[in-house]
């Protein structure tokens, strides 16, 4: 069974008196350790789909299973616990906590979400800091490092809990093309090293080519799937 299995997902939003269908009849299956991208123009439903997979929202219809759990059945607290245990997030705007250093930002999920003991915590944070090449910046605050470095810290934070899945919504949108490429390469490297599934959304064609499986979304529906040598099934 796939790590993420979606069957006929539909997501409707009510904006005032207007009903808006963001996703319609979306089905797919993503295997563990995949490097998957959802592409499509703005408003195609990429972020909505990532929010559903990330247990931040629930589908209006259809079933969505992540790591064997029907995420629509989870309540608020269960969702938070599930996210903390299984999912890492990388945000477009990095979303680092400004009052914490690079080290503390990476440490945060271990400390505040998983309650990992200090020795083990330090070991994992240092490993990730080394992996993303930020070991020499560990005491700096987010406003003292560049955008690319921030996103590397965000990648490390997403991976520090050893999640099964990392979701990245437009992770390169705020980066120049060179840095964007480096971040995607880093994510790929991390996938190879930690065997974590990466799912990211983008509308940047240069970045899209780096994904192994590419789902194209148009008007809330999957318009196509490309397999570039990964291990996903559609």
């Amino acid at each position: 069974m796939g790590l993420v299995v979606a069957e006929q997902i539909q997501k409707d939003y009510q904006i005032g008196e207007v009903a808006l269908r963001a996703l319609s009849g979306v089905s797919f299956e993503i295997e563990p350790a995949s490097f998957v991208s959802f592409v499509g123009p703005s408003g195609s439903g990429k972020t909505t789909l990532l929010n559903l997979i990330g247990c931040l929202d629930k589908p209006t219809e259809g079933t969505l299973t992540v790591a064997g759990t029907d995420v629509a059945s989870l309540d608020r607290k269960q969702s938070a616990a599930f996210r903390g245990a299984n999912i890492g997030f990388i945000f477009q705007d990095f979303n680092l906590i400004p009052v914490l250093t690079v080290y503390e930002n990476i440490e945060y999920p271990l400390l505040m979400v998983q309650n990992i003991p200090p020795v083990k915590r330090e070991e994992r944070v240092m490993k990730l800091l080394d992996a993303v090449g930020m070991a020499d910046q560990e005491n700096k605050y987010p406003d003292q490092i560049s955008g690319g470095q921030k996103q590397r810290v965000a990648v490390a934070r997403a991976l520090v809990t050893n999640p099964k899945l990392v979701l990245a919504d437009e992770p390169t949108a705020n980066l120049d093309s060179k840095t964007a490429y480096m971040v995607i390469e880093l994510m790929k490297k991390m996938r190879d090293e930690f065997k974590t599934t990466f799912i990211f959304s983008t509308h940047d064609q240069k970045i899209v080519g780096e994904a192994e499986i590419i789902y194209t979304l148009e008007d809330g529906e999957i318009a196509g799937r490309q397999n570039r040598g990964g291990n996903g099934n559609g």
Binding site: N51, G54, L56, D57, R76, K77, A80, A81, F82, R83, G84, A85, I87, G88, F89, F91, D93, N95, I97, P98, V99, L100, Y108, P109, L111, M112, V113, Q114, R157, A158
Partner: protein, 412 residues
């Protein structure tokens, strides 16, 4: 928990000026309360001390019904020697009683041979009275501090009004309980300053002179003033005395005695209660200051950090922990305000104490203000501030913890 405090502290100092201003506001509130409590408490205790230690004693025992007609100083309501003996036996059984002083209270005419006026007098055993009222001697401003047989200590108002000085001879004339009038020549041995409250303008004679003036066959006592070793045990001793005297009944099988603490004898008790009430109002104002300022800051903090809240919620922080983060911020604001307020407030109180500010109350002049704060005051005020700061941060913290991560992440 330590990490919550670390994050909360850093978040607070992210906006240093705002945090300092809010803490200062809380601190100012604490300072006002401490200074008010210190000054008003000092005033109250001083006045209570003046009354109990120079006039009333802590507790008084009378024959049942005496207090209802105390303004007339009724000699018919005095206690017989047997009753007084019973009372003295009971007093000796109560270890908390330090001393007691039997008194004969009576009204009479006071004549300087050229002028005559009325006077209220206490016939006392000087040693017992001085032991029970340790400040009485300090009120005697002119003449000897003792109340000797054949002497009289007269109120200063009388001395001034009738131009009578120490050493002058006067006559006291009184009617006894049978209606016969008697007089006795006495020498003024001292002038006693007036104080506010019942008995504050009474004169003093030796109890044996009072017996002679009133032509008593046997000594009949109007009241017995009691001094306790520990004023804090006032209510406990009052209850003990009431219990022990409940079995003492008169011929009509009704209670023979009545017991009153100073609170039931002095109208100042109502002023003392007003002071306590004002302290409560001041504390309520402090609560309002802390509540509004902390709540305001925390609402702003939550509003400014919506995306951060969305981020930490998205990565799996439980709602309870998000709530704790903001509550700890409110708690720290309260702690900072309480510490600063207590330090400065205590400092101001002790500066006021060192300045030895004087004030007048009623006919008493030159009373020295000695404000003080107790550890209990500091702990109580700190607790109020901290608890209210936590309460003030609860609503914003709850709002933060209930935020949908998806909406919070979209917030611009």
């Amino acid at each position: 928990m330590g990490n919550l405090f670390k994050i909360a502290t850093r978040n607070l100092f992210r906006y240093k000026r705002r945090t300092v201003l809010t803490s200062s506001l809380v601190a100012i509130g604490v300072i006002f309360v401490l200074v008010f409590v210190g000054v008003s408490g000092s005033f109250k205790n001083m006045m209570v001390g003046q009354m109990t230690d120079s006039m009333l004693g802590h507790i008084q025992v009378h024959r049942k019904g005496y207090i209802a007609s105390i303004d007339n100083l009724p000699l018919t309501m005095n206690m017989k020697p047997q009753a007084v003996k019973k009372l003295e036996k009971i007093f000796k059984e109560i270890p908390e009683i330090e001393s007691y002083s039997p008194r004969i209270k009576f009204g009479g005419m006071f004549s300087s041979f050229t002028e005559t006026t009325n006077i209220r007098l206490n016939g006392v055993y000087p040693e017992m009275e001085m032991k029970t009222l340790p400040l009485l001697a300090s009120r005697i401003t002119n003449g000897g501090k003792e109340i000797k047989k054949g002497g009289i200590v007269i109120p200063e108002l009388l001395s001034r009004g009738m131009k009578i000085n120490v050493g002058d001879t006067i006559v006291v004339i009184a009617t006894n309980k049978d209606g016969s009038v008697n007089g006795k020549q006495l020498r003024v041995s001292g002038i006693i300053e007036s104080v506010t409250g019942p008995g504050g303008r009474d004169g003093y004679v030796h109890i044996e002179d009072a017996v002679e003036i009133l032509r008593m066959d046997e000594m009949e006592i109007s009241e017995i003033a009691i001094r306790l070793k520990d004023f804090g045990k006032l209510n406990a001793v009052y209850n003990t005395l009431n219990t022990m005297l409940s079995g003492e009944v008169n011929k009509e099988r009704k209670p023979a005695f009545e017991v009153h603490t100073w609170e039931g004898l002095s109208p100042f008790y109502n002023i003392a209660r007003m002071i306590d009430l004002m302290s409560i109002f001041i504390k309520v104002m402090l609560i309002a200051i802390v509540l509004i300022s902390v709540m305001n800051v925390m609402i702003m903090a939550v509003y400014e950090r919506i995306r951060e809240i969305g981020t930490i919620a998205a990565i799996g922080t439980m709602p309870g922990k998000i709530l704790s983060m903001f509550v700890v911020e409110g708690f720290l604001l309260g702690i900072m305000g309480a510490i600063a307020g207590n330090v400065f407030g205590t400092g101001i109180v002790y500066i006021l104490r060192a300045l030895k500010i004087t004030f007048d109350f009623g006919r008493q002049t030159g009373l020295v203000l000695s404000p003080y704060v107790t550890l209990q005051d500091i702990v109580m005020i700190s607790l109020i501030v901290i608890v209210v700061a936590i309460l003030g941060s609860l609503q914003p913290a709850f709002k933060a913890s209930r935020m949908e991560p998806i909406k919070a992440l979209r917030h611009v």
